[in-house]
């Protein structure tokens, strides 16, 4: 009898823990959105075309959303990712296409561009008191200008073409069954790594502490500047990775691409339950938020809903997600308090 009581309370405890997890609201959102579009989209959406459509989109936004999410947890923003995507893509295309060097040189150069922009962002954010929103808008325009200027100067046009060598294309730009892009697996890999980084390794707590209270974090002996710079370099790297994988997939890079990633990545992170003011959030939440965002974005085209109204659904989804995240957080807090009181 005693054990039975324990079992029930264990179950209640597990359920309570599950509901109290910050990702729970996001998970419900993902499931609801999937069921909604599955009921409208039917077999095609349920099958490979549907899954590949939203997973491929989620992978690209998601690779950027993960480090952007880490930055937001640490209380910072990174707008410059929108400029890093085309900058890295064009660097790769210029090195390996225009100058005809081996593809790997181009890939390396493209990724290096992203890391450099991240390093500059990090230095500026930690050495000045200017908000990171403003700094990264500045570096975004700077990067855009440099990309445009150099591309036109070197290639004489704003689009550059390249033929990637097979090994690089296989690793970064290939598709399984023509539909499932390699980036999906890279995304899941990155998510695993960043999960370890944020939730298992000791560095994770540093990031939460940064977003909670920078001064106290510094006083507690956390290397605030180094951590922040590292996070910016990571988001620069991730954006560059997406740019490089795009150029290997499509064989061309354009100056005017990537702007979409700025709002899309922030949206995924917010839908995923990361607090805009920093200090709270989780990798699973970001991954689920990205999935939700991608399902809505692509589901519209499978559902027969007039795509003209698509933006309404995306906007509404964002607001509902933030509201439900807030209410789940409150619920979780009050649940815990009640338990304590009881």
């Amino acid at each position: 009898m005693a054990s039975e009581t324990t079992n029930t309370s264990d179950l209640a405890d597990t359920l309570g823990k599950l509901i109290r997890r910050p990702e729970f609201g996001t998970l419900i959102g993902t499931v609801v959105v999937y069921i909604f579009f599955a009921s409208l989209g039917g077999a095609v959406f349920l099958g490979a075309p549907g899954w590949s459509a939203f997973l491929t989109m989620a992978a690209e936004v998601g690779i950027i959303a993960l480090p952007v999410g880490l930055l937001m947890i640490a209380g910072e923003l990174d707008i410059s990712v929108g400029a890093v995507v085309p900058a890295a893509a064009l660097t790769t295309a210029l090195v390996s296409g225009h100058y005809d060097m081996p593809t790997w040189y181009g890939v390396f150069a493209g990724l290096a561009v992203g890391v450099c922009v991240g390093f500059v962002n990090g230095q500026l954010v930690t050495r000045t008191s200017i908000p990171s929103l403003i700094i990264t808008i500045g570096t975004m325009f700077g990067t855009m200008g440099l990309t445009l200027g150099f591309t036109v100067m070197i290639a004489g046009s704003t689009g550059v073409f390249m033929t990637p060598d097979p090994s690089a294309k296989a690793l970064l730009g290939s598709s399984i069954n023509f539909m499932f892009r390699a980036t999906i697996f890279w995304w899941l890999g990155f998510a695993g790594l960043i999960y370890f980084f944020l939730h298992v390794s000791p560095w994770g707590n540093w990031i939460f502490a940064l977003g909670g209270d920078r001064e106290s974090a510094r006083n507690a002996g956390i290397p605030v500047a180094r951590t922040t710079i590292g996070l910016y370099m990571l988001s620069g790297f991730a954006a560059a990775f997406v740019g490089v994988s795009q150029v290997l997939t499509f064989g061309s890079a354009q100056v005017a691409a990537g702007q979409a990633f700025i709002f899309n990545s922030i949206m995924c992170v917010v839908i995923g339950g990361v607090l805009l003011t920093g200090g709270a959030g989780s990798v699973i939440g970001i991954v689920l938020g990205t999935l939700t965002f991608a399902i809505v974005n692509q589901g519209i085209f499978f559902s027969g809903i007039d795509p003209n109204y698509g933006s309404i659904i995306i906007g509404a989804l964002l607001l509902i997600a933030v509201m439900s995240n807030d209410s789940f957080r409150n619920l979780a807090l009050s649940y815990a308090t009640k338990k304590k009181a009881g």
């Binding site: 095609v44 075309p49 549907g50 590949s52 459509a53 939203f54 491929t56 989109m57 690209e60 445009l148 036109v152 004489g156 046009s157 704003t158 689009g159 550059v160 073409f161 598709s175 023509f178 539909m179 892009r181 795009q246 997939t249 499509f250 064989g251 061309s252 354009q254 100056v255 005017a256 691409a257 990537g258 702007q259 979409a260 990633f261 709002f263 899309n264 974005n297 692509q298 519209i300 085209f301 499978f302 027969g304 795509p307 003209n308 698509g310 933006s311 995306i314």
Partner: protein
């Protein structure tokens, strides 16, 4: 002393003499960030040789960006007027802002030549002629071409919902294709997919799978062709991919056969003709009797892609 005086007088006289016979024109164009404008500039540069050989000058004025476009254009017009030019070659992108400024310039006896944009307001600014394409005509030509190549159901992709010039393009595609017996469906993708090749490719894939009668697509954006080609590769369907405007990458696709065609408006001709014909009108009194002069649509497909590539190498295509 006397010699200096004589020389100065002679120099002033010479200057005034050139001022009286020289035809100075200003060519106003769009943002320095816009690659399309570089092709127009190539045309203007080439025409400048002819102008200078005949004793005239060309000033090429561009806005920094498109953020404050209307007022920026008016500033450039007033700048040209203040410098005492005899003629202005200009596209009309923002009629409300530009028409009053251009009318004021015309009242001072400045001749206006119009190119690239704003054909419907040509008479309001008393332009001599118009060199450019017409979005509707370009779409009409593209739709007709696809239908003649055997398309039965064409998807017309708009990347920025509500952009009037893009709607005009798809309206043209619809009419051109309908006339040749094909059907057209217009697809507007949300603005947050603009420039996102992957997101657009997946959206197009959904449309291709959702309606298996679609056998051709034309995108209003060059990147839409990259997305379309990817969607075709993913689904393995037999769909003709095409787009308005083009890039080196789309020329490669046309060579490789993964893109059927691109619709070009030949910006080089617009810059070259607007500059040279404005000058010739001022200097020699010539006038082209064809009015307006359409520089597009010019269809780029497998039959002429090599010539276009050669032109692109030289910065003119």
């Amino acid at each position: 002393m006397n010699l200096t005086k004589t020389l100065t007088t002679a120099a002033i006289a010479a200057l005034m003499a050139t001022g009286a016979v020289a035809q100075d024109i200003a060519v106003i164009a769009g943002s320095v960030e816009d690659a399309f404008m570089d092709k127009i500039k190539k045309g203007v540069d080439d025409a400048t040789h002819m102008v200078e050989a005949n004793g005239g000058t060309v000033q090429y004025l561009r806005t920094q960006n498109y953020e404050n476009f209307g007022p920026d254009l008016v500033t450039l017009i007033n700048q040209a007027v203040a410098q005492g030019v005899d003629g202005i070659a200009i596209p009309v992108w923002v009629p409300d802002a530009q028409i009053p400024a251009l009318q004021a310039a015309a009242e001072q006896g400045i001749k206006i030549m119009q190119y690239n944009s704003g054909l419907p307001v040509k008479d309001d600014i008393s332009a001599i002629n118009y060199f450019g394409s017409d979005e509707y005509e370009a779409g009409f030509g593209g739709g007709k071409y696809l239908a003649e190549q055997g398309a039965k159901h064409i998807l017309c992709h708009i990347q920025v919902p509500g952009a009037i010039n893009l709607e005009e393009r798809c309206k043209g595609v619809t009419d051109g294709a309908t006339e040749a017996g094909a059907k057209v469906t217009v697809l507007s993708t949300p603005a947050n997919l603009d420039g996102d090749v992957t997101g657009t490719a997946e959206a197009l894939k959904a449309e291709f799978i959702g309606d298996d009668t679609i056998d051709a697509m034309v995108s209003c954006a060059d990147f839409g062709a990259a997305a379309g080609a990817n969607a075709v590769e993913q689904t393995g369907l037999d769909i003709m991919v095409s787009a308005f405007d083009f890039s080196p990458a789309s020329l490669e696709r046309i060579s490789a056969g993964t893109q059927k065609m691109a619709i070009d408006q030949q910006p080089y001709l617009q810059g070259f003709l607007a500059t040279s014909m404005l000058f010739a009108n001022l200097k020699f009194g010539t006038e082209i009797s064809t009015d307006p002069v359409l520089t597009g649509p010019a269809i780029i497909d497998a039959s002429n892609v090599d010539a276009v590539k050669a032109g692109a190498e030289l910065g003119a295509r």
